[in-house]
Amino acid sequence: MIDFQILIDNFNEYPYLIKLAWVVSAILGALIILLTVYLKFVRTILRKKEANSLEFRKEYEALLIEYLYSGTEEGGISEIQKNIIEELKKHVTVKSKRKVIISVLYKLMNEVSGEVTDALKVLYKNTGLMHYALIKINSKKWHVKAKGIGELTKFKIESVQEKIEQLLVHPVREVRKEAHLYFVNLFYFEGLNFLDIIKTPLSEWDQIQILEILQKSNDQEICDIKPWLQSKNETVVLFALKLAKVYNQYEVKDELMNMLSHNSKQVRIQVIEVLTHLYGIEAKDVLKANFTQLSLEEQISFFGLLEKLVIPDDEPFVEKHLFHKDFEIQLLALKILKSINIDKYLGLNKLPPSQKSLAMLKLENV
């Protein structure tokens, strides 16, 4: 006690700054101790939670396997399956357990196909998990909404399409994207009807994802893409052009010809590329006639078309552009000339260097 009094007296005699330093040190020291205890407490709780979730995962995995292999011969739900569903119904009311169940189902859905996935879908519906996904899509938080749609997509729940339809034009991009993917995943080409109504842009990544899903469809019979080629939404037009190319839509050639004078330069360039792919030889005369009015990118695309669809009659046109201001066009013109008239191409080598184009000089040094 006396020692303690001496310490207090000594402390009182210290200059103000030293006193302050001691007080701050004491506070920080106490904080460190408190935080260490708190950290230990949090870690213990987290470990306990993890252990519980692992234990529940194991328990649930066993139940799931039992469920999958106890169906009736006719494909109906057996008594054992009904009991498992009833048991799981109790678990899904607890958020942490619901999370574990969903994650196990998700993982399995990614890895197996066929009759097992059908059984998983039935389980998802009957255990009430679908009900929680519907609560998610009604949430005000966009990320919860998007997650809910993703879940319904994964388990291919068709009965909620009217609800998802309302989210096709949601103000948040991620929600819209999930809604688009829902329709494409479930209905493939028929699910593309949302392209009729969307006014917001469809990003390049969204387009790639949709194309990838469409390629998984067993039915590769594509729907009519003409309305989308005339869409006011430029990204929809660009996507329709991708569809025309991937699915060889020769029947839209006339529409593509009209689109050579589209307002958007990007669309016009893409149209030339699609026509190249579809052997749109009719486009040659139109583009040749307007060549000087085309942008440089369109001119390059057109030379790409010529490279594939050239005939000997095109020689004067190609020759005329051997000295084009753009190096890429010079090079393409040389390449095309070589393919239709090798003698004339070789004759160009005899030109004096001062009369040669940059492409000719570069090729000489290759």
Binding site: E61, I65, Y69, L108, N110, E111, V112, S113, G114
Partner: protein, 121 residues
């Protein structure tokens, strides 16, 4: 029917359990490994009649498992590999290393049973 020993190396515990149940129903004896390391230990210990392995696994990949079986243990046991979408190059490597068959995920367990039968016969 002969009870054949099968080592199944798969890090998705639910899928492992599902396949174990399915293949045991066919009369086989299953040894489960959650990663490549465990798989190698089981293979050396059990000398199985068939190995089924995923390509992407913790610690030691499916490719390393195949390489170890063919080059170090010099076993001719048939090997079936699982691969996910986008792992086409890995599948080619697996065949180069000596895999006998492959199944792309997602796959049907019934199809796996048929492939297992074919390899064991």
């Amino acid at each position: 029917m002969d009870r054949k020993k099968i080592v199944l190396a798969e890090d998705n515990s639910t899928l492992s359990l599902l396949l174990k149940f399915r293949l045991e129903k066919e009369g086989h004896e299953l040894f489960m490994a959650a990663d490549g390391k465990e798989a190698l230990a089981l293979i050396e210990e059990q000398l199985p009649d068939l190995i089924i392995t995923d390509i992407m696994m913790p610690f030691i990949s499916g490719l390393e498992v195949i390489s170890h079986v063919r080059n170090k243990l010099e076993l001719n046991v048939p090997i079936i590999v699982f691969s996910s979408a986008g792992q086409e190059e890995m599948v080619l490597k697996a065949f180069d290393l000596g895999a006998n068959d492959f199944m792309g995920k997602p796959f049907s367990p019934n199809e796996l049973v048929i492939r297992v039968k074919r390899q064991l016969n």
